[in-house]
Amino acid sequence: MRRFLVGFLSGLVVLLLAAAIVVHFGWLDVSADVAIPGWLAHELSGSIHRSVIRQAGKLAPITPATEAQVIAGGKLFVNDCVGCHSEPGKPPSDFGATFYPPAPQFFQVGTRYTEAQIFFVAKHGIRRTGMGAQGESYSDEKLRLLAAFISRIRTLPLGAMELIHQKAQPAPETAVTPK
């Protein structure tokens, strides 16, 4: 038993030492424009998903959004998110691709996150990615609109993008009471 303990402690020391050496000599490549192994990227994005599922599960269920709310969310999305996440009907964002991990192109790939989970991610951001927390700049009300839009981004009603791009249409906005 004593030998096992001594072996265990030596193992721990070697492990920590190895980590310190890798960090100290700069052997960890940190360039954002070099891909990491696919399985690792898959595990990392999976760990974010599991974490968001766990944390967003505590949120109250979301009431179904009206079409006007989806359009209002689309207006917010087109204003602030398309720089990285690209606009429906447009090619993927060059800028979003330069992050590691790259910003997901929702219109091209959709999303496996539910509306409540999207709300949570938009509000609080995601650690160790380019996704910053938007809760400082958007009320919960507006974040709900955004989530309503993003969760339907691949199944938008016909003509939705035209409505979203229409300037000075007070109708959908008045349906929303900002915080």
């Binding site: 038993m1 030998r3 096992f4 303990l5 001594v6 072996g7 265990f8 402690l9 030596s10 193992g11 721990l12 070697v14 492990l15 960090v23 100290h24 000599f25 700069g26 052997w27 960890l28 490549d29 940190v30 360039s31 954002a32 424009d33 070099v34 990491i36 595990e43 990392l44 999976g46 760990s47 974010i48 998903h49 599991r50 974490s51 968001v52 599922i53 766990r54 944390q55 060059d94 800028f95 330069t98 992050f99 590691y100 991990p101 949570f120 991610v121 509000k123 609080h124 951001g125 995601i126 650690r127 160790r128 990615t129 380019g130 996704m131 910053g132 927390a133 938007q134 809760g135 400082e136």
Partner: protein, 167 residues
């Protein structure tokens, strides 16, 4: 000897597996709007700095950090970087939204050298909000940004005014 080896192997294998499972099962919090713990910032910032220093070894900035270059770099900074890294001549505003926090360069300056800054801007930093700008700026633009950021806290007299002057 056999039990020593068993203990050694258990110590090498179990901690990485536990860390992997901790992340994989979703126990690592995702939300970015809290301040990272000091130990995490220390370890990760050190890993980035040492990695960039290794890659920048042997690279020398072509040309000198002339006032013209500083002004050019400063204008590019105000256009493309200040949104996250803070504006010249404005009061300090802590970043509450990104994890790890975005360094507010006009206030804290940087310990990175010009070639290191050049590499960070060109290739970005993995698993942070710093993306790779190599395809959006020419080499000369990248170097002028690097020259400017290096001296951001002690610019020659008059350079900040020239940067902030409207064209």
């Amino acid at each position: 000897m056999k039990s020593f080896l068993t203990g050694f192997l258990v110590a090498i294998v179990i901690p990485p597996v536990l860390v992997f499972l901790f992340f994989r099962l979703g126990f690592a919090d995702a939300q970015a709007d809290v301040r990272p713990p000091t130990w995490e910032s220390r370890v990760l910032f050190a890993a980035v700095h040492h990695s960039v220093a290794r890659q920048a070894a042997g690279i020398v900035m072509p040309g000198a950090a002339t006032e013209e270059r500083l002004v050019r770099g400063g204008k590019l900074f105000m256009n493309g970087c200040a949104g996250c890294h803070g504006e010249l001549g404005k009061p300090f505003g802590e970043d509450h939204t990104n994890y790890p926090r975005v360094p507010q360069l006009p206030h804290i300056g940087t310990q990175y050298t010009e070639p290191q800054i050049y590499l960070v801007v060109k290739h970005g930093v993995r698993m942070t909000a710093m993306s790779a700008y190599g395809r959006f700026y020419s080499e000369e633009e990248l170097w002028s940004i690097a020259a400017f950021v290096r001296q951001i806290r002690n610019l020659p007299v008059g350079v900040q005014e020239r940067i902030l002057a409207k064209p």
